[in-house]
């Protein structure tokens, strides 16, 4: 492989606080050799391949902290190959995959399978998650230590919440000692029973059962209280409301260490988009009011929310063409994550650098991985670059 040089690029890499016109050189192994405004064309041999970026933007590959792969068990919804294609088309190069497959990834042999399978079939960096509790049932914790040794990046029960406070306390206590990442979905089941959309005007009009913001807030408050006692690496997968954000603001300003994610869906849409029973927008957490959406955007600006995720959940047609209450929850999103995030730059609600930060370096920091950056002598052999034209 020859050396490659990418010239005339606007390089944005929040991990190095870089936003400058310059060039990037890849050595013959695909590692970054030089980057920045001081890199010149004459720095490479004449045999090097030259790519003219023409003033477009070069950012690190996106790290998506929440996506569902159907393998094993739901190959008809998504597999490693199709997920890779969708991800690469959307500029996502690293994915944290969720463990709610069939069977659920809660033991060491499943991890071995998924890592081998991913290595053979996927063309992106995969970071598998295992479940926090066996079968995601919220009753017995999984082998955090052994699973981490086998290459599990973090633990999540995906769209299920550990309701038992005693168990959650023990999980956080145990996890704090091992230094593993616990990713919680915040939803109180008693408060969200049978519900499928936000508890508001649309729920009243459509005659659907709504889930109030309190269902999310109460779990966040509980977990943050526990966090004071058991300071583990704690991440809230997705928040959806202004009220949750207020709790987070209070805790973060008190110096508590934890991280928060938000789905691109909750940043781009509100409950009105459900219209007359669009089951494609049946999501968890649900779409809420415009007021909530705006507060979430503001939460990113104020560093209260650290990452934007795609919450990519492909569903087949049969699971969605049903009455709303019966339809499956979730929507695809990995391919549209970046374009929709950039929309917040175009409509001037967020600065471009901030958006890139929440998509690249922030998730990489939370996961403690060497991705989402264009630093020199990077460990990664394949550094993927994205060229994106901004209007």
């Amino acid at each position: 492989m020859n050396e490659k040089i990418f010239i005339n690029a606007r390089i944005i890499d929040p991990s190095q606080k870089m936003d400058e016109k310059g060039s990037l050189i890849l050595d013959n192994k695909g590692k970054i050799k030089a980057i920045g405004k001081n890199v010149k064309r004459s720095d490479v041999r004449s045999s090097a391949e030259v790519f003219d970026i023409k003033g477009n933007i070069l950012i690190p590959g996106i790290v998506d902290m929440k996506a569902f792969v159907g393998e094993p068990g739901y190959e008809y919804k998504e597999n490693f190959r199709t997920l890779s294609q969708a991800a690469l088309a959307g500029g996502v190069t690293s994915i944290v995959t969720m463990p709610n497959t069939k069977p659920i990834i809660d033991n060491v042999s499943m991890v071995d399978f998924i890592i081998r399978r991913g290595r053979d079939k996927a063309s992106i960096n995969l970071f598998p998650c295992a479940s926090i509790t066996k079968q995601c049932e919220g009753k017995l914790m999984t082998e955090f230590g052994l699973l981490s040794l086998r290459g599990i990046i973090g633990f999540s029960d995906v769209n299920k919440t550990i309701q038992n406070t005693e168990l959650m306390a023990r999980i956080m206590d145990y996890a704090s000692d091992l230094g593993v990442l616990i990713m919680q979905h915040a939803e109180d089941y008693e408060l969200s029973k049978n519900s499928c959309i936000n508890d508001g005007e649309i729920a009243t009009r459509l005659g659907l059962e709504g889930v109030s913001q309190i269902a999310e807030k109460i779990i966040i408050e509980r977990d943050l209280s526990l966090l004071s006692e058991y300071p583990c690496r704690y991440h809230i997968n997705q928040i959806s409301s202004k009220k949750s954000l207020e709790v987070i603001k209070r805790s973060k300003s008190n110096g508590k260490k934890f991280s928060v994610g938000v789905s691109i869906n909750n940043l781009s849409l509100n409950e009105n988009d459900i219209g007359e029973f669009k089951t494609f927008l049946k999501l968890s957490p649900p779409l809420r009011l415009e007021e909530d959406r705006l507060s979430l955007v503001n939460g990113i600006k104020e560093n209260l929310i650290d990452v934007i995720v795609s919450d990519h959940i492909p569903e087949d047609e049969e699971s969605k063409r049903l009455p709303f209450a019966q339809a499956a929850t979730g929507a695809i999103g990995i391919e549209t994550l970046l374009p929709l995030a950039l929309e917040m730059h175009h409509n001037e609600s967020l600065p471009l650098n901030k958006i890139i930060e929440t998509l690249t370096v922030n998730p990489a920091k939370i996961l403690q991985i060497n991705k989402g950056t264009l630093k020199k002598v990077l460990m990664a052999i394949f550094v993927s670059l994205i060229l994106m034209r901004l209007g």
């Binding site: 459509l206 005659g207 007359e276 047609e317 009455p323 019966q326």
Partner: protein, 314 residues
Amino acid sequence: MAVRKNTSAIKNPPKHLLGIQNLSIQEAKQILKDAKEFINLNRSNSKKLDTLRGKTQINLFFEPSTRTQSSFDLAGKRLGADVMTMNMSNSALKKGETLIDTAMTLNAMHPDLIVIRHQDSGAPNLLSQKVNCAVINAGDGRREHPTQALLDALTIINRKGKIEGLKIAICGDILHSRVARSNIYLMNMLGAEVNIIAPKTLMPKSIERLGVKPFTNMKKGLDGCDIVMMLRLQNERMQGSFLPSKREYYEFFGLTPEKLKFANKDALIMHPGPMNRGVEIDTKLADDINVSLVKEQVELGVAVRMACLKTYCK
């Protein structure tokens, strides 16, 4: 992709009656006007017409119903249609067939009208996308029950001569009630002022956005009302999960002659049925022909449904 090809492509989509929300004021008034003409027919000796002769009407009831189902049954027959009533609680659906597949199966038999009652909100909307005959909503989940609202409107017009300018109270389990929602839309549309009376736990979120005034105090809510619509309170709601007990509910939200005094002197009482006597309404009051319109509602229900069938059948 093959699936999509087979299920879509409905040419010249027919009009459906999915809810009052989708109805224009002209359409609503026309239905009421047509229905008025059927009232006398239904009281006469020869009740049968041949307006819908040769047409097929399928009643698809996924939820048990007595009055709505028999009312639609009779309405279709009086207009001369061939009526088939399918009780779906023990049918293919139990074998795992989806609503869409059921719809496709029935559609293949070329019905002209499908009347559907379903426990899920939005089921008639989904059905209407998949069939090429008119769909009439006979109640879906807690969303809408348009023919009930229309028959309530007709009953009021029949007694009071108009709806515009009246003050109407709807009282009871608003949260779970499709009748309440359809009535809110229709009474608002026809120019009435609507008060909603319910205990806090049975009041839907943001109900004031529907253009009504919410009250938790029944006496205040009834103040100056011309019509009092009572709703049925289901047994499972009054055993501690939503309300402490029947008797506590009756004390604060049951309609008694004393509470009725807070409404206008000539106020009339309505109830979509079936009634829980002694829970939401005093039993003597329910039977008092001077104030209770309950029997009239059932009678005019047939006329309204005849008008709907006639309007939506092509």
